[in-house]
Amino acid sequence: MVGLDVVGQHVELGALGAVTRRIVALVVSHAALAIGLLVALRAAPAVHHVTGWPLAVVGFTAAFALVGLLPMHLEFGRSACTVTLVEAVLVVALLHMAPAGVVVAAAGGEALASLAHRQSPLKFAYNSMAVLAAVLLAVVVHANVVHLSGGSAGAMWPAAVIGVACYTAMSFVSTSCVLRVVEGRRLVAVFRASLSTAALASLVSASIGLTGAALFAAHPMAPLLLLPLIVVVALETRRLAAHRAEHLRFERLYAASSRTAGLQEFDGALAVSATEARSLVTGAAAVCCAPDRDGTWRGMLVDDRGSRVASADLVAAVVDLVDECGGIAAEVPVSAIADAARADLPAASTVVVAGSGRAGESPVALAVVRDIRGDDQGEARSEVLGAFAGHAALTATNARLYGEVEEALRHQVDLNRQKDDFLAAVSHELRTPLAAVLGSVATLRRLDQRLDAENRERFFDMAARQGKRLQRLIEELLMIAAVDQREAACLQEPVDLVAMTSELADDLQELAGDRIVVAVAPGAERVQTDGTKLRQVLVNLVENAAKYAPDGRIKVLAWPHTPGAGDIAVTVVDHGPGVPADQRERVFERFVQLDQSSTRTQGGTGLGLYLCRRLTELLGAELTLAETPGGGCTFTLVLPQPMEDEDMQTPTATRATSLPVDVIPDTEEVTA
């Protein structure tokens, strides 16, 4: 029989459960063919006398089994084929035995060889059926050819050759079919790739058989002369075959590595690595695990149903097992993985593990479960998976790094877009007051004497007012630039809140129309912070209140915020229109002015509250906006304080945490 070896690996049936059903179908169809041929054989005319039955049957069975166990390896160009000398024995058997004896001996010999190879039941069934069908075909053809040629002794030899040719063709078709089913390759491609090597192997085998038969005709013991030659060639080619199998395994490893290179998506990379690992050691399922960007181990499970994320239990079990093996690839019983963690895995007998485990710079853990009983290839499999693990680790690391770079890039793009938007907004906000300044000056020059005194005053006023707005905008932009670049260093100094709030009220009373009242609750007189920045925030908040709340008091309150923690809060309360709850966070954005129509009249820049928020962040404080009871805005700035000595904490511990608005009646003047 010709064992086709196009991919360099013996087809290991049963390893791929999804195709198992198709292989069973192949076995069944072979069996059906065999039954059909059996009927044909009963109808076939007897060709010659039985010689030595049943001793001959036993002898030939042993011969078939022996040649099944001693395959010889031939290389032919870039292809390789295995010659098993089954044709040689078959030629001799056809010439010297009754058809039924040939069938029994060939099928029995193949079965014995299969058993000796400890093949899986499915593979055993397939091989036996394929051989049985092919031998039956050979026997039927041989019998008919002999009969057609009139049963002459001279016709026996060509009839045997034709019979063996039929056997070869039949087993060639069988092997191609099984390759098609197991490896999914196109039937025509398989035929083309292996036709010449299969023909050569059969020719060699059949020629040896014919030589043996001719020698037997000269003397019954003469074929034994061939025996030493066959044994030497068989042993030598076995060594060659092992070498070639290893070579081809690493060729596959190389191909698997090239298929996993350059993968960019983390889970995708793990899935491809698992798929390649599974096919490298012909397993039923494979798991590839590696830590993601956050250092959490993730794994992808690949089996006949495709790939999916492996359960955390399975990932942990695989990583533990790889760690146990100390980073050395090994094939161990599948019970090394706890039953619970194996819930997602198909039934299996062994597991091949490889990878560096938790140790190493590029950690990875690979596990492939196999449902084929152990054989002598275990070490070779472990070795190839171990070599592949290094590549899988690199693939996972690359994918992880790619993800990091991609995210950094996306972040940068967002940042750039924000910058562009800000620049466009700044451009617009700078041009608007500038247009008014230049427009009023141009009007004054252009109309000159045609303007009455009132209008002249109006345009001078306008130029001055809009000029100031421009100046303020530029100052705030510069401040924001400083804050954004973190150039504004933050001091920690004792600040007297009583003095600061009263000074602030004095400075702004004119702007606010004498509506500002300040109060500092006991325990909030002193605060540790950057005084200049705190003052800037408070000025902006009070100006904001003066601008948007045309009536009512504007209260500035300092009070101990959290009992025990010692935090100090400063609150600015107005009784203006207020801000709807869903808009309260938006007021802290750049160039957001909720009531657009008031923008120009109030001369706001749209940067005041944004600057407040940024400065507050710099101070490590928190600035929030709430509704004033009865309507209006209440801005609260909470300044965290370092823990201080006992006498500072005791009074604060008894304070209420609610805002002490009631401290100041609306009518009372508490202004310093």
Partner: protein
């Protein structure tokens, strides 16, 4: 002098100072000026008073200038009124958006008062020539 010979200009801008500047200068040139401080008011006034031309800001409350322009160009009654966009939006995309919405002229703030007045005068003579 027939009333139609006094040319009416609608000025729409959310900055009252800008309206004052344009109003004083246009009135000195003999135009009658209507003013609107947001997009909706501009649309209503344009439909109600049929101005001879419009000076339109882009960044305005309610409806922005580009939307006003698009709306007017799709209305047969206001389609032919010449419109000058006068805005602080100055990048290429904004300018292209203005022209493609159907503006007759696009001026960026800060602007040359003479340029605007000359162009408005030019638009006036164009309209006169096209009269039957």
């Amino acid at each position: 002098m027939r009333p139609s010979q006094v040319r009416r200009v609608l000025v729409a801008d959310d900055d009252p100072d800008m309206i004052t500047i344009l109003r004083v200068n246009l009135e000195a040139e003999g135009y009658a000026v209507d003013a609107a401080v947001d997009g909706q008011a501009a649309l209503d006034l344009a439909r109600g008073t049929r101005p001879d031309m419009i000076v339109l800001d882009v960044m305005m409350p309610c409806i922005d200038g580009i939307a006003v322009l698009t709306e007017m160009r799709s209305d047969p009654d206001t389609r032919d009124i010449p419109i000058v966009l006068l805005t602080a939006k100055s990048n290429d995309d904004d300018i292209w958006a203005g022209w493609s919405a159907g503006a007759d002229y696009y001026l960026t703030k800060p602007f040359q008062l003479d340029e605007l007045l000359h162009f408005i005068e030019y638009l006036g003579t164009q309209a006169q020539i096209s009269l039957p």
